[in-house]
């Protein structure tokens, strides 16, 4: 391993842990809030309608889904806010241009460290859930399902990285693009199934959801971890690969165009 990879890795870990109290409060509090909102909402619906299962989910299964899906989204997003756009805006991108390291490799390592950190937290919380609540009967989390999920976690991080980086490139022409990133995050969150499982969506929306990459980014990896829908692995791989290649090409094109535009003095 090249020494600078280790340096970036360690620096990023240090950055994450600098404000430990805030980090853990934000993470645990945020996860708990998300979890509680989902639990209360679905428990209310189950009780009001006297149901034991809804769309194939028991209340325990639904709660577990709402633990894993938002955390998968978090692994993928990995605090990607403030990525390159701010550096283009204030001219601090210059430093990356004179580093002996390719900028996107540098950014990828920083992003990946955070993603892995959240992945670790996902499994810790999953362990706690299974220990306290137990495994819902409709799911079967096995070493195989965990292995498939880990493979997909890596792939979705790559695709999401290319996607967000492509959007960040717009900052060469626009002053401020944070709202565009939030726009994309909201889309991924809703159409990826983090807000509500996609099986609850109306039938007419399914062909659209299948074409878009979001379903394969959150909903399907979550299902794979829960031991369901293994027959869709090929479809998810194909969707992610095609979109990944598309975003990669877009990033390459926009970066080259953007660099011709970049003055290095800030906007």
């Amino acid at each position: 391993m090249k020494p600078w990879i280790k340096s970036i890795f360690l620096m990023e870990v240090k950055n994450i842990l600098t404000y430990r109290f805030e980090f853990w409060m934000n993470f645990l509090g945020g996860t708990a809030a998300n979890f509680l909102i989902a639990y209360f909402l679905w428990n209310f619906i189950f009780e009001a309608q006297g149901l034991t299962t809804l769309n194939g989910y028991s209340i325990q299964g639904m709660t577990l889904y709402y633990l894993i899906a938002p955390l998968t989204l978090r692994v993928m997003d990995a605090d990607s806010m403030g990525f390159i756009s701010r550096e283009v805006y204030d001219g601090s991108l210059n430093k990356y241009l004179i580093y002996p390291v390719e900028i996107f490799i540098y950014k990828w390592i920083s992003y990946m460290v955070r993603g892995c950190f959240y992945l670790l937290q996902l499994f810790v919380l999953l362990g706690f859930f299974l220990l306290i609540v137990g495994a819902p009967k409709e799911f079967s989390i096995t070493p195989t399902s965990i292995g498939i999920f880990l493979g997909f976690a890596t792939l979705i991080m790559v695709v999401y990285f290319f996607m967000v980086a492509s959007i960040e490139m717009i900052s060469f022409w626009a002053d401020n693009i944070w709202s565009l990133r939030v726009f994309v995050f909201l889309l991924v969150s809703f159409l990826g199934g983090s807000a509500i499982p996609l099986s609850f969506f109306p039938e007419w929306s399914m062909p659209i959801l299948k074409i878009l990459p979001f379903r394969s980014m959150v909903y399907l990896p979550t299902q794979f971890l829960l031991g369901k829908h293994f027959e869709l692995i090929g479809e998810a791989l194909l969707t992610l690969s095609l979109w990944g290649i598309g975003f990669c090409l877009a990033l390459n094109f926009l970066w080259k165009k953007g660099m011709k535009q970049y003055t290095g003095v800030g906007m």
């Binding site: 404000y19 109290f21 805030e22 409060m25 934000n26 509090g29 945020g30 996860t31 809030a33 998300n34 509680l36 909102i37 209360f40 909402l41 428990n43 209310f44 619906i45 009001a48 309608q49 809804l54 769309n55 022409w173 626009a174 002053d175 401020n176 693009i177 709202s179 565009l180 939030v182 726009f183 909201l186 889309l187 969150s189 809703f190 807000a195 509500i196 609850f200 969506f201 109306p202």
Partner: protein, 261 residues
Amino acid sequence: MRYFHLYLHFIRFSFSKAFQFRLDFFFRIFMDVIYYAINILFFKVLFLHANTIGPWNDSQVTVFICGYLLMDSIYMTVFSNNLWWFPYYINKGDLDYYLVRPVSSLFFLTLRDFAANSFVNFLMAVGLFIWSLTHLDSPIVAWKLVLYILCLINGAVLYSAFYLFSVLPVFWTKSPRGLAELYWKTAHMAERPDHIYKGWIRRILRSVFPMAILASFPARLFLGEFDWIIFGNIVAVTFGTCLTLYFIWKRALMNYTSASS
């Protein structure tokens, strides 16, 4: 009156600034449009599988969520830009600029930047709110509607006050954003009708962390019978929050170390 004139100046300046960054202006509009769409669609999808949520049917929940979006758009337009920069001011020592002005520092800090682009979204939220009212099965009582809107404005103030509470720890910890992220996540509780919460969570949401009071309680006053207990709850929490904020703000300023923070 002096503060009113000052605020008009803030608005004028904010509009001219917003039009200098045209793309950002439109990006923020897109962002809020998708946020509105997702919140409405969430309940529309839910109602494909449920007939009611508590005592509310589909059209009543739509009034609730559009009320929430109206409250959110008021917050985004009036307060959000200001509160976003708050931790930076503290950590970089830029708060000095605000503290030496001959006006209330809290007024200046929380209202200086009027988000002109979010104002467009505010107009959209008003449109959605009117649209939701037209789909309501029951007749609309004028004074209840006025009270509902006033309570939603109050909700925006409370939402901002609690956001401020979440970033005030920066005065002590010097961290980049304090507990803002935690607040954004937990504040999602306000996006759901308060009927769903039970036990101690329910008590917390109507008192010390009053997310139920932002949009759900106002909707209950509008959609159901007027309830003095709910109204009293809103007034008491607003009063208590303002007092606490004033007290903590004074304490926090004593801890401010200016440029070397």
